[in-house]
């Protein structure tokens, strides 16, 4: 039996998305910027997808830039904005951002001389609007705070932070909504930029986007042609962009449909873990639980892997690096023993049960 409990790392492709993508692949190969019929047909579909995506996020059509995922979108938002507005030199982010955000800030700090304030989460795992407010300076150019943390699932009051930044003239607010899109509601009214990807919601890898409001000017990081409003050059990955609208639509439909089911799985998991493992964090996204056991993460991961159970010990994007884990460290969680369990509506109660019983066995035997 294979049990996949790493949904915040990535997800399997939705069958409907796969089918549509396959059909498009068979039929369309032309460049979406070509002016003959087949090119125009692809372009039109891509723009329709852009429009539908924008409608679902309640923004304007031309505020959606398709990218090859959230890491690119984060890079583009942060570096693209800062390199274009170099008069202001102060930036604010948090210590527990995804590496694509964190390392963009590090780059701006180390290579371009910006000054960066890294906010630490409070004991509940949150970056509060007050914390942001206190860190704002007259020369603050950008605030970037993630919606949902990818390792503990804590979510931040993005609307509250956005409202505060909005009142601060000349400061932009960016949020990484990769772990929240299609799962949590977010009001982007006061948000200047938001990054997201498709593969966390059963879409294609290498597909995502950046929402950036009309008035936000970015320096292109990939120089090229007219694609994506001349902000992101390169032949469009049009077919991926076309199926993004469907990917998001299905996710949003499922969000409402499976909401109570996901809480049932959550409760089952929490109850099952009682007396078995220490729960480090389970107050955020209901589909993510961070736990610790007496075994080191590596040993537990191996033992679970032998039994066909897939979980992560930390953010998958840092899985092969021996760096200090910023999130767990900030939360005072011993990273050597932490395990992240995440699921979604495609998981079953049997799978959760299978995980719990195997975890018990492993701990009995090796711990």
């Amino acid at each position: 039996m294979k049990v996949y409990l790493d949904a915040v790392s990535t997800t399997a492709l939705d069958p409907e998305v796969r089918e549509t993508y396959k059909n498009l692949l068979d039929k369309y190969y032309c460049n979406s910027d070509a002016l003959y019929d087949d090119g125009v047909a692809i372009y039109d579909m891509q723009e329709k997808s852009r429009k539908l995506t924008a409608e679902m996020l309640k923004v304007k059509k031309d505020e959606i830039i398709f990218t090859a995922g959230a890491s690119e979108a984060n890079s583009l938002a942060i570096k693209g904005l800062c390199l274009n507005n170099q008069k202001r030199r102060h930036l604010i982010t948090s210590i527990y951002e995804h590496s694509s955000v964190y390392n963009s800030f590090r780059q701006l700090e180390n290579d371009f001389g910006f000054e960066v304030t890294y906010l630490k989460p409070d004991e509940k795992g949150h970056i509060t609007p007050e914390a942001v407010k206190n860190a704002l300076r007259d020369d603050t150019l950008l605030v970037s705070i993630m919606q949902v943390n990818n390792e503990i699932g804590a979510f931040n009051d993005v609307e509250g932070i956005a409202a505060i930044v909005k009142k601060h003239p000349g400061t932009y607010f960016h949020t990484d909504i990769t772990q929240g899109i299609g799962k949590l509601d977010v009001d982007l009214h006061n948000v200047d930029m938001a990054s997201f990807s498709a593969h966390k919601i059963h879409g294609l890898k290498g597909s995502g986007g950046l929402m950036r409001k009309e008035f936000v000017e970015l320096m292109p990081l990939i120089s090229g042609g007219q694609q994506e409003f001349s902000i992101r050059g390169g032949t469009s990955n049009a077919l991926s962009n076309i199926v993004f609208a469907k990917t998001l639509r299905i996710a949003l439909e499922n969000k409402d449909k499976y909401n109570s089911y996901l809480y049932e799985l959550h409760d089952q998991l929490i109850n099952g873990l009682e007396g078995v493992a220490t729960i480090n964090y389970a107050d955020g996204l209901c589909t993510l639980v961070n736990i610790s056991t007496p075994l080191t993460s590596e040993v537990l991961l191996n033992a679970l892997n032998d039994r066909g159970i897939m979980v992560s010990s930390k953010s998958t994007c840092g899985s092969r690096k021996n760096e200090l884990n910023r999130t767990l460290n900030a939360m005072g969680i011993d990273e050597d023993h932490a395990i992240r369990i995440s699921f979604d509506h495609t998981n079953t109660k049997e799978e959760i049960e299978y995980f719990i019983s195997n975890l018990k066995e492993i701990l009995d035997k090796y711990a």
Partner: protein
């Protein structure tokens, strides 16, 4: 709002009511148009009476239907309604319930007695109902600016209680006045002209002059998109696509530049006229507006219009550009219209077009080449595309 309580929709004819003998035809056409538009709501049942059309919801969603109903021409207003028996106590009960559901402080009752045989007069009904509400709630009467308006309509078989009056599309039921052929370039004006034409009870077909390869497929696609948007008002629109390039090239080869547009427009009217004759269409309609361009001066319009026998109507003739744009935005054609594709009028834009063309000069130019054969070719190669908003949505569904 009391959508949850509504069990009916009452549609009132308005302007139609003035039409003596033809009234039956009008109400029949209106009912037919409404039934077609609401065909997806299979549970609805219809009752067409002298004073209005009564649609029973049978569980269908009023809020969805409401938006669709607004796109139908030929009636003045409609309301979501609660039907009660012709008994004043029942009316009192329902209106009280209605008053309790609203978060209003003040109210007003307006009764209309379509059935004059009902024992209570309108005023007596008003007083009985208002008295009951005053007695049983904290609401007070405000006849000038009430928070809640309650309309009571005493009809032949039932009494209807309503709390809103929504404006209908106005005008006449599309189709009641026959057919019109709308000349459609793809610009801002022609879709507005088409809309106003339909609103006046004329069912439309569209004619578009395509000059490929000088104009692109996107330009044609744009016209079809516009037609699709307009099809909301009459379900399906036939678009005639006329291959115009050869005739246009002949004009530019033989006619002096200032007269090119004049002659070109005369050719377009001839083709439109011929298609009207073949298809028994009574009216040509277009988006010409006095003075807008050289071909739309009074002199130009006169000389150009002379070639057609069919009645030519120009709904925008006296309208200001901003007024036209307002309507274009309202009917959601503006954004499509301003897409930057060349149409056949802009492609051979002469530098000094004549603003006061003379008919004898036109006739002279037209002796210089055999336009009749070219016209015949145009008419013969007319390609008709049926466009409907219903079809387009379905193709997309699988991808999005």
């Amino acid at each position: 709002m009391l959508e949850l309580l509504y069990d009916h929709i009452v549609v009132r004819y308005g302007e139609l009511s003035t039409k003596g003998k033809n009234r039956k035809d009008f109400t029949r056409q209106l009912t037919q148009n409404i039934r077609k538009r609401l065909q997806d709501h299979k549970n609805l049942t219809y009752n067409t009476l002298h004073d209005g059309l009564f649609i029973k919801l049978n569980g269908e969603d009023y809020n969805v239907i409401k938006e669709e109903l607004k796109e139908i021409f030929g009636y003045s207003y409609f309301s979501g309604a609660i039907r009660v028996n012709k008994d004043i106590d029942e009316v009192k009960k329902v209106t009280l319930e209605l008053a309790n559901t609203h978060e209003a402080k003040t109210f007003k009752i307006a009764t209309k007695r379509h059935d004059k045989s009902f024992p209570l007069r309108s005023d007596e009904i008003n007083r009985a109902v208002a008295g009951n509400i005053l007695h049983n709630t904290k609401l007070t009467v405000d006849v000038h600016e009430p928070d809640l308006m309650i309309y009571i309509s005493v009809d032949r078989d039932f009494i209807y209680v309503m709390d809103e009056k929504a404006r209908g599309g106005g005008g006449y039921p599309t189709g009641i006045n026959g057919m019109a052929l709308v000349m459609m370039s793809g610009g801002i004006d022609s879709p507005v002209a088409a809309y106003l034409t339909m609103k006046r009870g004329l069912k439309i077909e569209c004619i578009h002059f395509a000059s490929e390869p000088y104009t692109s497929k996107q330009a044609l696609e744009k016209v079809l998109t516009l037609a699709e948007k307009l099809s909301h008002y009459q379900e399906e629109i036939n678009v005639h696509i006329i291959p115009f390039t050869d005739l246009q090239l002949a004009i530019y080869k033989n006619v002096d530049e200032p007269y090119c547009i004049t002659i070109m427009r005369r050719m377009m009217y001839r083709i439109a006229d011929e298609i009207c004759k073949q298809r028994k269409i009574k009216v040509i309609s277009n988006g010409e507006s006095i003075g807008q361009v050289a071909s739309q001066t009074p002199e130009s319009i006169t000389v150009i219009g002379k070639v057609a026998d069919t009645l030519i109507l120009r709904p925008l003739c006296m309208m200001d550009k901003l007024e036209i744009i307002d309507i274009a935005k309202k009917i959601d054609t503006y954004e499509t219209s301003i897409l930057p594709y060349e149409d056949c009028c802009t492609i051979f834009d002469p530098k000094n077009p004549v603003t006061k063309p003379k008919e004898d000069k036109c006739l002279y130019y037209e002796t210089l080449f055999d336009y009749e054969t070219l016209l015949e070719e145009c008419v013969k190669n007319d390609r008709i595309v049926k466009v409907s908003y219903r079809k387009r949505g379905k193709e997309d569904e699988s991808i999005f």
